[in-house]
């Protein structure tokens, strides 16, 4: 198993809603506790695009419509590089806007279509009324655990064939929908902010384990004391799922 992972956090200065950058803090923290080196590099507008294949994980957070418009042209410029990295096994961790922009397109409330990278088949349409938003705490049953987050998105994402999990509380990919997010072995895409990893250490550890096992010799990660994280999540599960 590898002893270090390299992460590229794209557009962290622009796409950072609801503590999304905190996900990087959680990854670094959980690696640090285990003596794993976790190097997080940044890339944003105007910077020089590094060789993406060098990275074990690429992370893109969520932003407001305006910010998404600003970065979309630049992101398209990175299309081939991201695609190549993804096909080479780099993990893609995508929240909200980052999730949407990897699909075919995102059509905003004014009808402007922002082309996506088309890595995946799904597409996203925001309703004409800006008031219609999916704003809620959310509980999703994933294969890792019942996870908790906070969603706030206008966009309705359709055409997802392999969701991250089943919605137990909240909206998910569309208003009041059954499923949330998008999942592949090396992709977690979700609307969950919070930040997503803060209360859901299983997701963080899955990604860390995946990245370290890329050399072909995966091993279980050392257990950490997650008492606070698990209690934190349990408080929300008890509150939201209470019938």
């Amino acid at each position: 198993m590898k002893s270090e992972m390299r992460v590229l956090h794209m557009y962290g200065d622009m796409l950072d809603l609801y503590g999304d950058s905190g996900n990087m803090e959680v990854l670094r923290y959980r690696c640090g506790k285990r003596g794993i080196m976790c190097q997080v590099d940044g890339y944003s507008l105007g910077g020089e695009l590094p060789d993406l294949s060098k990275y074990d994980l690429i992370y893109i957070g969520g932003g407001a419509d305006l910010e998404q418009q600003h970065i979309s042209a630049d992101l398209l410029r990175c299309k081939e590089a991201i695609k190549k990295a993804y096909e080479g096994g780099t993990f893609l961790f995508l929240i909200c806007g980052g999730y949407q922009l990897m699909g075919k397109y995102y059509r905003d409330a004014d009808g402007n279509e922002i082309p996506g990278l088309g890595l995946f088949d799904y597409y996203t349409v925001a309703p004409a009324s800006r008031r219609k938003r999916c704003i809620s705490n959310i509980v999703v049953r994933t294969k890792f655990a019942d996870v908790v987050g906070f969603e706030n998105h206008g966009g309705q994402t359709q055409g997802v064939k392999t969701p991250l999990g089943e919605v137990l509380f909240g909206n998910g990919n569309c208003s009041k929908s059954q499923y949330e997010g998008y999942f592949e072995e090396n992709v977690i895409a979700t609307y969950m902010h919070g930040p997503c990893l803060s209360k859901n250490p299983e997701l963080a550890d899955y990604m860390i384990g995946y990245c370290l096992g890329r050399d072909g010799s995966p091993e279980p990660l050392a257990q950490l004391d997650d008492t606070l994280e698990k209690k934190c999540r349990q408080v929300m599960l008890d509150r939201l799922l209470k019938k």
Binding site: G19, Y29, H70, S136, N137, H193, G194, S198, L228, C232
Partner: protein
Amino acid sequence: MNRILIFIGKAIVGVLRLLGRNAGNLPGIILWHLTRGRCCKMFKVDCPIIAVTGTNGKTSVTNCVAQLFKQSGKTIIINKEGNNLDTGICSLLLRYCDGAGRVKADYLILETDESHVPVVYSQLKLETLIVLNFFRDQLDRNGEMETLIQKINGFCKTFEGNLILNGDDPNTARLGRANPNNKNVRYFRAEPYAFATKEIFEASEGRFCPFCGEALEYDFYQYSHIGRFHCPKCSFGDYQPYVTASKIDLEKPVFTVEGHEYSPKLNSIYNVYNMTAVAAAAKLYGIKQEVTDKVISKYTVNNGRMENFLLGDRKTTLNLAKNPVGANMTLRVMNEMNGEKELLFVLNDNVADGLDVSWIWDINFSIFERVTRVVTSGTRAYDIAVRIKCSGYDQEKIVVRPDLDKAVEELAKTPGRKFVIANYTAVQPTRSALKRYIAKHGGEQIEK
């Protein structure tokens, strides 16, 4: 029709009074329904209206501007904190109007919620709008930041009254371009203070020019995204300031505006900006220097904003933090202080707080210095505990006590200096818990 509505409204206020209840928002809410959302339209206000809006500091600036006029011998009407939506303002005017809806005073000074500025002032004629700042605050209630700014910008496009804007906040300064025909746009700003930085220190909004999309350049940041900015491409940010705060020394604390030195009671850069906005209003309305001086030097707050208590003999400072900027300011004050200290952080997620608590991840906890223990409390006590833990703080030193009384007992158990940060709905219960502790174990609330 108006008379009937006013009659109904006044009747509700009267009944509530008879029941011994404060009228609050309820009459406004009922009239809002009766008027299909145009509940402020039925009033006839002949005097000038001055509105104060922005994310942080509304209450302070509204109170001070009101004092400027009051101490100049004018009759004023002012709304209390919390009643700053259209329904709250409607309830307020119901109390003061006559049967025909006529409101008599020299000035109306109204704290107005950011998202309600266009709603209220499409119904009431506004003379002056003071815009303090726009930060991430309860985003889930207001929708995204940009939507909020767009709403107010839309209002400003046709507004020809006085616009007093924070020129060091690109989010508010941009409103100055909304109506090119408005000759009454004025900016206030401040020279860098001792803790201003060259690099941005805390997560923030508005890093890009709203007009051309270019990254904004900063000479300095005071806090968050507040500082001297300009757009290298389209010259956004080049304006002639109306008033500038200079020679800021928060140790004393003093600052100078228009050659006059002020000695405020509160020692934060926040307060300097708020009081500079007050000084701008005073200049605009020709308030006498001695009145402005008195208002700015006397102003203090006792609603959980830097309040001091003695828990037994432990000096304790309570501060409200509704958003990362407020919390970061408290952490800075805490850090700039020598010696060991302990922190109690009370975090709620009630409706008025905004259901989401992820803003705590925009607080920079890695700067903790000589913080020997952290107690967390509130409905989201564990969220803030996890947040602080992941910033690298030793989790053995974090104690979670969701029950507030138990949290205060825990905090006061050890000797030394204490700080308490509480968010919006947590601050009053926290004050009460501190007072209960004092009643039981001794101590006092210290007046500034």
